[in-house]
Symmetry: C2
Subunit: 347 residues, 2 copies
DNA sequence: TGATTCAGCGCAATCGTTTGTGCAAATATA
DNA sequence: TATATTTGCACAAACGATTGCGCTGAATCA
């Protein structure tokens, strides 16, 4: 079965490709195509199930109605969630999504980004993993707007939308402190990623404000389950093990849980734990995990909105730096302690 | 910054677009381009960071090195997993993936598929949600190969790769039966989807073979958390509530768990449960959930392999119908019962 | 020296669209 | 009736690549 084209429709109806194109793009009125002609062409197109080649269209118009989404690991439920939202928001705006995965590798990130650019996507939404935004900034300057989500850079000119991670870290820690904990271990993800840094900063400031700056400590090196496991395992062997853990992501949490179970400790009676992210499974763990929930629906929607504005070229937009407030979701993984630590905290 | 094209490189080096194209595609030898010329052009391309327009390339060659992936809900961790695998396998084969989501709507499914076709993807991997494969078959006949995964149709000519769902259902049920259960509730997903049907058939046959055909029953209508919740809630109010539940997916499981907790029942002492799918979280629930694990890595890899063969046009391939064996993963959510049921089972 | 061969490259058509411009016929205006 | 306007549509040049074919000049051969 030969593919239908403007030409074939043009031949079958006897009108020129120009006219066919105009009708099918809904510009019949604008170009004064008669009603009769319009009907004939529309009918023929419908009947033969014509779909225009988006390649040709894109080539000619320089718009593909496609946006690229770069994530560092789609198998992480958090990014799968983000992808889901971005895809549906993009669809609402009439776009489809090319999804690429850097698997936390800077090299892959470049390759995939460059693939997106050759595909002439209209814009890119990225959760970057590189240490340095320059590659992304080049793409943006090259005419393909880029909006960052979740992770970003301090010194970048790119727009971004993310959780207010500092606040999240501060609130998580404060909640633990309010419950009498002082020896709080903070397990972070990739150290150079902004969410990690900011959450850690929030943790540290909260600790400081509470006069516990030297307790617990910040450990960890990436957002993997393994990292959560190892750091927890280590910390539990300290002479004065932490009474609470602040896990920076759902993956780190899982690792920590494993280590805690292996040590035959009960949550929250033996040790408390608080996490980040909002995975549906967190409610089903036993106990359900108290956490800082990120507003990912809003993040996804805002990101698409910003991107669409940039694509539409609405007056060369200012850089937007949006930090949306996270939310504390209280479940059952944090217990109140009434020991030495509390006395110490009340001095 | 103006985008680089063959033409601009051609102008800067003084060679024709033809020659530039040949060099950059690695056909320098084939067309006897001199070594010197080759070097000049390669250098210029590298320096100016040239990336060819895949639109133009695709238009001309009719190959886009892009494959479409259709899933019914990327926020379901199971499909996110599949997507992750398909993306990385596709990448190994030099392709990128356009991901579209039907959200379990037949109408969306058609729209998205048609969008993939206009994008001239080289092939499509689909987890269909429609009741009827004809639309997909048309696409396949239209020259865009389609391979189904996870869900398929009995009466289709399309190739598919999936878990041996009958066997999975049979094994899950047998395992419960072996542990003395007879009153086993089976909660299924979308009734007309083949995985659902086959798992249910496996369940029914196992029950029959064990002489318990009339116990428990098959309930449920879709793969949602809500469905699992409602059906469990209902079943627990029976005069003779089930002693075990077979949940057909990780989402149904979650719903069931919620209902069970609300009834203040303990797993596995009060009620046993077995699930399908292999989500990392299942190991971290308390107790860890015994389940039938699907070989999704193999499924993803096979699907891409089949698709690539079809795309390469290796002799108009036979239809492939692959059912890969699932695996029972024993954890702690199933207990042995030694009551009336067992006596009954041993008659 | 004249005829062959081959190395090295370019011409121009093509893929399927969009779009600025042009032009005939129909209608309105004077 | 002659002119101006409007209606309805078509021509042809792009967009950025690929590719069958052909051309030139140098080297080889007889």
């Amino acid at each position: 079965m030969k593919k239908d084209t403007l030409k074939s429709i043009s031949q079958r109806t006897g009108y020129s490709m120009t006219t066919v194109s105009r009708v099918l793009n809904g510009n019949a009125n604008k170009y004064r195509i008669s009603k009769k002609t319009t009907e004939i062409i529309t009918a023929e197109a419908r009947e033969s199930n014509f779909t225009p080649s988006l390649l040709a269209k894109g080539l000619r118009t320089n718009k593909t109605r496609t946006i690229g989404l770069l994530v560092p690991g789609i198998d992480n439920p958090y990014f799968a969630n983000i992808a889901s939202i971005v895809i549906s928001e993009a669809k609402k705006a009439g776009n489809t999504v090319v999804l690429v995965d850097s698997m936390e590798s800077e090299e892959s990130e470049r390759e995939e980004l460059s693939s997106l650019v050759s595909r002439q996507v209209d814009g890119v939404i990225a959760v970057p993993c590189g240490q340095n935004p320059s590659y992304l900034e080049n793409i943006d300057r090259g005419g393909t707007p880029v909006v960052l989500i979740d992770r970003y850079y301090d010194n970048t000119t790119l727009s971004y939308v993310c959780t207010d991670n500092y606040r999240g870290g501060y609130e998580a820690t404060s909640y633990l402190l309010q419950n009498g904990h002082a020896n709080i271990l903070c397990i972070r993800g990739v150290p150079h990623s902004t969410p990690s840094c900011e959450r850690a900063r929030g943790y540290a400031d909260a600790m400081q404000a509470h006069g516990c700056a030297n307790e617990g400590g910040i450990e960890g090196s990436d957002f993997s389950v393994r990292n959560g496991y190892l750091e927890t395992k280590l910390a539990l062997q300290r002479s004065k093990p932490p009474t609470a853990i602040f896990a920076m992501s759902n993956t780190i949490l899982l690792g920590a849980l494993k280590a805690i179970r292996e040590a035959s400790l009960q949550i929250p009676s033996d040790i408390s734990i608080i996490s980040f992210d909002n995975n549906v499974y967190l409610d089903y763990l036993d106990p359900a995990i108290t956490r800082i929930s990120q507003p990912i629906n809003e993040i996804g929607a805002m990101a698409i909105k910003l991107l669409m504005q940039r694509i539409a070229g609405d007056g060369d937009m200012q850089q937007a730096r949006l930090q949306l407030p996270p939310q504390l979701v209280v479940c059952n993984s944090v217990a109140r302690v009434r020991q030495a630590e509390e006395a110490y905290g009340n001095q």
